[in-house]
Amino acid sequence: MERWIVASAKVTGIAALAAFNVWLYMVVAVAPVERVQGAVQKIFYAHVACWPPAYLGFILTAVGGIGFLASRRESWDRLALSGAEVGLLFCSLGLITGPIWAKPVWGEWWVWDLRLTSTLILWFIYVAYLFLRGFAFGTDTARTFASIYGILGTALIPFVYYAVDLAQGSTLHPSNPVPEGLPAGMGSTLVAGMTAYLLAFFYLTARRIEIAGLEAAREERDWAT
């Protein structure tokens, strides 16, 4: 499976580039300017599209963790590590673009409501995961611990996703958008953005997995010599 993922990088990379161009054209020319917020509302497309690849990355970390615990094969561990790293990149971008949108609309860069706080905790969980991987490099115990940690980390994702509903109106954050429920031009632009981001996610993850595999091969060679 790993070989197949690595081989797919070129195709997903080219597709991501094309999808980003289409998406940017749609943001400028197709998506309407929102009546109340004005042009700043267009940050919506860059911000919301960050979350599917972020969550997917963290879910891949759990899948890789389960695979590693079940089979003890290092390729599963490489999938887990790559998912966390690329997922964290998209989570960071979501956490950066959110405040840029919030400041002109809410008047605040950040509010400590349920959605924002839980997302920040999720971000810290995966920062800690990567630190753990960095400090305890290469041992089987570290891989086992990281697998369990990665599986437990995903438990927070449904809570983050439904945090707006759980807050029951006591949050400034808008509810989770559904493309079909958006005005003409907005839904299709959001879908185009999500597609571009997901293709970029697959490309970056495939490249990261390849690097982890090359690092393992180098270590093996260094051990042998």
């Binding site: 990149l89 490309y203 970056l204 690097i211 090359l214 180098r218």
Partner: protein, 33 residues
């Protein structure tokens, strides 16, 4: 608005280039022994 798009675009391109650099460096090192 443009700032948000510039941050996202630059971050993704920078990370992709960083991965490519690491990948090529590792491949070269493995090939050359």
């Amino acid at each position: 608005m443009i700032v948000a798009y510039l941050i996202v675009g630059n971050a993704l391109v920078a990370y992709a280039l960083y991965l490519e650099w690491r990948r090529l460096k590792l491949r070269r090192r493995l090939r050359d022994g």
